[in-house]
């Protein structure tokens, strides 16, 4: 989800001046954008060496950490917003991380690829796993080890006792409120404890 329209759509969900923790922050572009345009502060968390370097180059605070080892380094409610943008689907402990997100942040914003988007459904109907611009991987080399849908996250949130403040889809940078489980390639949730 490196495209700028999506990044800006996510950024709009973050209040001005918020203290932000960006889990799986990639090259730090979103955090840098939030710092420069919305006066936010905070840290990114990354595991990949190249991304850590890119963050330091941008002047974004970055902590090199394996998210599968948990967020014990971060205190309860120490951030206004915890972002998990295209991160959840890579995590072995996705469920734990979802709970950790709202422990550490007053609000958690989770975005991930919606496998129930209609082109994906069509593909599976034809008997093949989807390969799209949003999901450019083959089934055998995908880093997405958690394959879920917009509707699935609502069920998990309920089961984990999380409050869904808002949920919608994103498609081509536009907000999708009508039938997002069918019509949006990206699912977005705003969660709290």
């Amino acid at each position: 989800m490196s495209d700028h329209t999506t990044m800006h759509a996510i950024a709009k969900l973050v209040p001005e001046g918020a203290r932000v923790l960006d889990l799986g922050c990639g090259d730090g572009a979103l955090l840098a954008h939030l710092q420069n345009t919305r006066g936010c502060t905070g840290y990114g968390v990354e595991i990949a060496d190249a991304n850590v370097l890119a963050c330091v180059k941008r002047g974004v605070n970055v902590i090199q950490l394996n998210l599968d080892e948990g967020l014990s380094m971060f205190a309860d409610a120490s951030f206004d917003v915890v972002l998990q943008i295209d991160t959840l689907q890579h995590l072995r402990n996705a469920e734990v991380m979802l709970r950790e997100t709202v422990r550490v942040g007053r609000v958690g914003i989770v975005a991930f690829p919606n496998f129930a988007h209609w082109p994906n459904r069509l593909s599976v109907l034809k008997g093949r796993m989807p390969v799209t611009r949003r999901l450019p991987y083959q089934w055998y080399d995908t880093p997405n080890i958690r394959v879920g849908t917009h509707a699935d996250l609502a069920v998990l949130a309920l089961r984990s006792g999380l409050k869904v403040l808002d949920s919608f889809g994103l498609q081509e940078g536009r907000t999708v409120r009508f039938a997002p489980n069918l019509l949006a390639g990206t699912s977005v949730y705003r969660l709290s404890r």
Partner: protein, 382 residues
């Protein structure tokens, strides 16, 4: 283009109060500087050294082959810490044996060589002495302070003791204090030295001897802990010292006294080399300074509370195979800084070389430090 280093020395007549309650007077500090101090004196970077290093951080001595400073791969023109942009200062700590006042010098109070009577100095004392040197050089605020291992402890301590004089602290392969195991290694090294008959209660200078046996053992155990199992195996494996001429492994000597394996002769060589130049009392002092460092101690062990005083920005780096100063210890510092909402970045470099990695070239390590100093340079006027 090689950079030539010129060692300098500065004398301090006024007594330096020490944490122990004692004081040192009429002492000197050896130091070197690289690059040029800019007009508003905002581009100074202080480098703090670890156990067996000195003020000779970078560059070479003119006319001396292989005289590169201990962090010459990191610091110099165009390097990660670029001396074209920064004025870099290397300083030798009190109690050392490389020029600054130490146990081999004359105690002005007694007229005798200090020996074991040299007062116990701490990381905090060193930082205070370094601050006085900066005063004398007319540097009020450091663009950055940087160190690895024990040097990283000094960098951290700078941020706590002089929060208004440091803008960035770069803490590499360090720890907020030593664990029991780590103190234990130091104690083995110290006992090796103090039980050497040539130690003479620390006054071996008067006897014209050096407790070389103790120093050798101290260095050998230290050296083992600075490497990783994998690197040692890769470098030495089970290779015998005496390989046969066709390159195959030779026969065992069936001796308990001879160095049979290559790792043995390597450690013996390292120990011998070290015992030739390092001072036994300095070794005791510096390992003790390591043991005592514990900024959280006066805060009931609460590191977050202790680090509340620090206001500068931090870069921490650790190495995955470093078991003497493990990533876990660096993460404790990171966590305490996060608790205080301080600006901090942390890189955990997956390098194979153990604790020694902080002195070696690794493109990821050098890249992060280099990029960090690029951003520091942007805050500094040319």
């Amino acid at each position: 283009m090689k950079m030539f280093s010129i060692p300098q020395s500065m004398h301090f007549a006024a007594a330096l109060p020490l944490q122990s309650g004692e004081a040192l007077r009429d002492y000197s500090l050896s130091f070197e500087t690289y690059g040029r101090l800019n007009a508003d004196k905002s581009n100074a970077v202080l480098i703090c050294h670890a156990l067996n290093a000195s003020h000779h951080v970078a560059g070479v001595y003119e006319g001396q082959d292989k005289s590169e400073g201990w962090w010459d791969n990191m610091i110099g023109p165009g390097k990660s810490l670029d001396t074209n942009k920064f004025f870099v200062i290397g300083v030798n700590n009190l109690g050392s044996c490389f020029g600054s006042t130490g146990p081999m010098h004359i105690n002005p109070d007694s007229g005798r060589v200090y020996g074991v009577d040299f007062p116990v100095v701490t990381v905090e004392d060193w930082v205070n002495a370094q601050a006085r040197l900066l005063d004398a050089l007319g540097i009020e605020v450091l663009a950055a302070v940087m160190g690895g291992s024990l040097g990283g402890m000094q960098a951290l301590s700078w941020a706590l003791q002089y929060p208004n004089r440091v803008r960035h602290a770069v803490v590499v392969a360090s720890a907020p204090n030593l664990t029991a195991e780590n103190i234990a290694f130091n104690e083995v090294a110290r006992r090796a030295i103090t039980t050497d008959p040539d130690f003479h209660g620390g006054h071996f200078y008067e006897h014209g001897t050096v407790p070389k046996r103790g120093l050798r053992i101290a260095r050998m155990i230290g050296h083992i802990t600075y490497l990783s199992d994998d690197v040692m195996n890769e470098k030495f494996g089970r290779h015998l010292r005496a390989a046969s001429h066709d390159g195959n492994q030779g026969a065992y000597l069936y001796s308990t006294l001879e160095a049979e394996f290559q790792i043995e002769s390597y450690l013996r060589y390292q120990g011998d080399k070290f015992a030739e130049y390092f001072d036994a009392n300095t070794y005791l002092l510096i390992t003790r300074a390591l043991d005592y460092f514990d900024p959280a101690r006066t805060y009931g062990g609460d590191l977050s509370h202790a680090l509340a005083r620090a206001t500068c920005k931090f870069l921490l780096v650790s190495f995955t195979t470093d078991w003497r100063f493990s990533p876990k210890r660096s993460r404790e510092i990171v966590k305490a800084l996060l608790d205080n909402k301080r600006d901090v970045s942390y890189a955990e470099i997956d390098a194979p070389h153990g604790h020694d990695a902080f002195l070696l070239d690794d493109p990821r390590y050098m890249g992060v430090v280099s990029s960090y100093f690029d951003s520091v340079a942007k805050e500094v006027t040319a």
